[in-house]
Amino acid sequence: MSSNNNSTTKQAVSDGGRGGIKFGAYDDDDPSSAYLTPSAGAARGGDGGDEMVTSLPTLEEERRLYADDDEDAYNEEEDEGRIAGTSGGARNYHRQAEDTSMDSNTNIDPFASHSATNGSGIVNTRISDRESSYHARKHDRELHPDGMSYKEIMMHANLDKEKRELIEEARKELLDEETGEFRTRLLDDNENAATTTTAAAGGDASGEKGGGRRQRRWDTSATKVEDSRDGGNIVSDTENSSLSSKSRWDDDSTSTAAATAAAARRRKRWDETPIVASGTMSTSDATPRVVGGSSGQKWDETPVVASGGMSSYGATPMISSSGSAAAAGTMGERKRSRWDSTPAPSAMQQPGATPLLQSGQQTPMLSMMGGNLAKALSNEKEMERRNRPWTLAALDAILPSEGYTVLPPPANYLPLRTPGRKLLAPPTPYGQQTPLGFQMDIPPEEREGQTIQDIREAYGVPIAATSQELGSAGMGGEGLPPSTDGTGGALPYIKPEDMQYFGRLMEDAEEARLTKEESKERQIMALLLKIKNGTPPQRKTAMRQITDKARLFGAGPLFHQILPLLMSPALEDQERHLLVKVIDRILYKLDDLVRPYVHRILAVIEPLLIDEDYYARVEGREIISNLAKAAGLSTMISTMRPDIDNPDEYVRNTTSRAFAVVASALGVPSLLPFLKAVCKSRKSWQARHTGIKIVQQIALLMGCAVLPYLRELVEIVGHGLTDEQAKVRMMAALTVASLAEAAHPYGIESFDSVIRALWKGALEHHGKGLAAFLKAIGFVIPLMEENYASHYTRLIMPILIREFHSPDEEMKRIVLKVVQQCVGTAGVEPDYIRKEVLPEFFRNFWIRRMALDRRNYKQVIETTEELANKVGCSDILSRIVDDLKDDSEPYRRMVMETIQKVLENLGSADVDDRLEERLIDGILYAFQEQAVDAGTSGAFGKEGQVMLDGFGTVVNALGERCKPYLKQIAGTIKWRLNNKAASVRMQAADLIGRIAVVMKACGEEQLMGHLGVVLYEYLGEEYPDVLGSILGALRAIVNVIGMTKMTPPIRDLLPRLTPILRNRHEKVQENCIDLVGRIADRGAEFVSAKEWMRICFELLELLKAHRQAIRRASVSTFGYIAKAIGPQDVLHTLLNNLKVQDRQMRVCTTVAIAIVAETCGPFTVLPALMNEYRVPELNIQNGVLKALSFMFEYIGEMGKDYIYAVTPLLEDALMDRDAVHRQTGCAAVKHLSLGVAGLGCEDALIHLLNFVWPNIFEESPHVIQATCHAVEGLMVSLGPNVILAYTVQGLYHPARKVREIYWKIYNMLYIYAADSMVMGFPLIEDEGENTYARTTLELFI
């Protein structure tokens, strides 16, 4: 993947502005491909070099069609790698990693080979590397420029559409006439057109001087075209071939592409006449010439440089240009000359980078990747020749002498902004006015007298020189950007790829000389850098600052910097998450200020909605929903409306998802009129398709929340079922399916209007169309009443049975699903199923091949389960049980899983003796014949689990009927326990755990005892996973047969377990502690107190376990042990443990103490505990307080007996200088007061309140929170009015800090107990004309 990237980069640079031309050609292809059926598209994509581009969207189409279209299904598909090639770099990378790990023994650093080429760790976290090319289409997204009204945008969209249609027609004509030569001819034409429009653009730029107004449409007078064409030929100076043969539409078909090219050219030409640049655009002026003239190869290898160079092309000052450069028909290029805006420089660098990367992937260059080196070289040479720099002499020659002046650069012109660009700057600055113009520079590393740092700086690599290098080179390093802008703290390291965004932070800037805008921009840049690459504290502060200052910075400057970062090709997961978080935060603050940026934000965020990562999708939804709330419905609609009939499927797909999010955020009803209109659009089927898709996405997103609008939504999509476009019909059917699924089991009346259309569709269509309609019917039938459902099932069943034979896998899956749904409805008779469906069903689907594809496998099982629910267990079982002895293991597993499900649902009541025998025989065979995977170590995967679960379920379902077979089963288990493969031993041990209960029920205690002894002997097992399972099996046996009957006896078993407690493996720990706890609970008397103490010591270690279940089990085991041998010794151990350093250990110890106190009575523990408080050591005292806190929490009401005893201790704690003392003391007071509420301890509680109260002025959040909780607890036990009396004192204190906390407490009281406070409010004297007395309270009878 990365090599791919490099090559595209290389191409992008050498290709220069011409990339756009190819793009035009590609985009012309696109609409035509949209008309093709998916398979045809794929076939077409397969033949040419552009396979990557065309084939993937069609697969995507397919996926959307046939997958359940919910995200899980999507992920699964990704997992199974069905979309070959879309899975992208991640998987590639893993493969790579495996490869490299093979020969890693020769390496010195074993991880060096594992660390990813991109990203910051062993796994490649760079998002762009694992993107499928479909996902990467986000970079092609075309954006309309700022300042266009909705009307204008729509007008241009319509014009574009007309244009596309014309081209399409013309293309068809052409195709008819000369089918063979059509393609070559068109390509030629495109190239010509490019020059023409270059000319046109040139004319535009010259504006008033040139006098030639630019032509907008193809219906222009010929003279003008000629006019501008001439100019263009001169400027482009490349391929002014025979233009006369050019057909009219070509001009516009490639106009954008050409315009882009033109922009680049134009700039190259005009920049040397600085009047055009007018001082604002210094940075971009510098670069393009170099790129134009660069011979390329050397620089291309450094990606930073390449991207820096490319940035110049995107000089249209917005992200939108990323689209405009790439895709056809951007109005911006025509509408607005880029010169008349003052672009934000950083924002303009980025966007150009991406489209050119994209452009590099286009067809012409693929031949080069194909390995045709000679051709590639000649290509490159030609590029160089074409893009060679302009000399003044040449310009003099080709430009009219009149009307042009050579102007000096503006006074405020700064030739260089960043070291990253220095490389690409003209080697001879304008200041010197070298008359010869540009010449190829000597690459920096070959110049004389260069220091390392100079070279690095020239290449924009921000690594500080090491001291050694400094020593040798004798110079000062300046790698990390200096702290600037009062944002505080040193800035984090800037990655080379990020230099184009953050490069400017590297220069020293004097605050005073920056304009306000510039300093703002720098501040934002610094904050973003800290958020993106900084340490967590840096990030946190920066995040807060950027949120607080969001309105100050303004939406424009913020988004100009954030959005390009999000589109950066070097973006990583974590960075994306953080940047998205930034957007989320500032959206809240900016509120309606975001309106002008909605489209750009959407263009960046929408791709998240189809991300592979679930959390990215959730984040995307959240942002869009917040955006919708901030910008309002009308803005959202007018912004997204033009995308609805965008020619690019990708844009429509993401837009529909975004619209669904908007609908769920702002309410479906408000969007209904719009959806209704869109779905009825006559102009374009794309709009209808997208509109219907929006409804589908709403259904998927909102689930049963669509019910209130179900009728409207169904009506909106209803007529799509009879649309003349096949795609619209299919989408409508799928949408009906989604709506029905979301509405299940309600809302059948809403579907009345579409049932006829669905039914007709199912009769009329074939292939994929039929599949969609069947799916819809399948989801609607379960909503129906019994008799209707039965009726429709009978009607649909012949079609389904016909399609049983379909070779199409997707069709099979849908048919299975529909059968499942039909059979599941109440009105369908079992006899009908038995006679009509079962024979065909088993003949077609219970075959080995179905077990091979995971999705088929799952669907067959589910459908069979449903059939069994209808016709009964034995009917199904008798048909498949003999297949348990089939040769194919996957097939056996499928049978096993089905049997398991069926028996789980229906039990084994109607399994007769013969079937029972066959069943047991089958499962034993299948169990024994499992393939042993992965050698001797490691666990069985899912496969083993299926067998295990199946076996367990069958045995449990048969219950006592298993008795005759148990001996045989136990024999198998014993034999497998002795197996060489660890996974086999583990599975056998696990199986004992599953069937222990049945063995007991069959009265096979002797057998169990025997198994117990066998397991006991295997306790020396060395594989921890197996050991864990053995312990689990032992526990199951102990649980079932009890402590007294257990063999080996408990007194032998437990000492054997003590050392195992030391095992660090979690599974072992968990099972072991469970077993030990069980014994301590039920059979503590079988073991000596000494042994228990030993176990206590081992348990202390387990308090450190990572897994909560283990800690919890060990803490409660302390309770059992304390109960068994008395609390003294245990308590002693625990109190000693309070001295340790490890905090988690201490916390768990306090919990254990509290539990001991609970099980043995607080009086057994409290004296020793309170005595321990006298030790003058912070940790111990805090531990004691915490233990008290837990104890009071656990003992609840019992606390009333101890409150007077502990009050002096709590007094002391609440007065301690240490804040943690007071905090923990407050926690104890809270639990204490809640426990004793209503038990008459008010005196002590008020006393405690007096100690708690001063802590309300604490600053530390933990302490203040604990204090507030204590006050809340006291409020419950003392009544709110007592606290109110305290609170009223400070509500109007002169100091704001005091008032604030008092009001906070007041509010707390008010929220909890407003009503009871009525009697507690203070009496307030009247004041002036206001009567403050509450006279009603003074009434009495």
């Binding site: 509500l1291 109007y1292 002169p1294 704001r1296 008032r1299 604030e1300 009001w1303 906070k1304 007041y1306 509010n1307 707390m1308 008010y1310 929220i1311 909890y1312 407003a1314 009503d1315 406070m1317 009525v1318 409010f1321 307030i1324 004041e1327 002036g1328 004309e1329 206001n1330 009567t1331 403050y1332 509450r1334 009603t1336 309270l1337 009434l1339 009495f1340 009878i1341």
Partner: protein, 94 residues
């Protein structure tokens, strides 16, 4: 600040949800007005209290209720002119 469920709640949301809550800048008039409204609402909400007031005033419960509800509009009379601004300034100066 947190709700009874323990979920944190923002100041503005808090005020929107519990109108009677206050903050450090609340004037005396506002506070007492809230107090009065809470008191009247509490009276209206407790049947026994309503019957008590009805008997004490020798009026029907419906009328007493109406009076109370109407009184909740401006229980303490009109707000003092400019008091809030003055009070704020004073506080700021302090």
């Amino acid at each position: 600040m947190s709700t009874p469920g323990g979920a944190p709640i923002h100041k503005d949301q808090l005020k929107a949800k519990y109108i009677g809550t206050g903050d450090a800048d609340m004037s005396k008039y506002e506070w007492v007005t809230n107090m009065h409204r809470d008191t009247l609402a509490s009276h209206i909400g407790h049947y026994d209290q309503m019957s008590y007031y009805a008997v004490a005033q020798n009026q029907s419960m419906g009328r007493v209720k109406l009076e109370f509800i109407e009184k909740m509009l401006q229980p303490c009379g009109r707000p003092p002119m400019g008091s809030k601004e003055e009070g704020k300034e004073k506080l700021l100066n302090n």
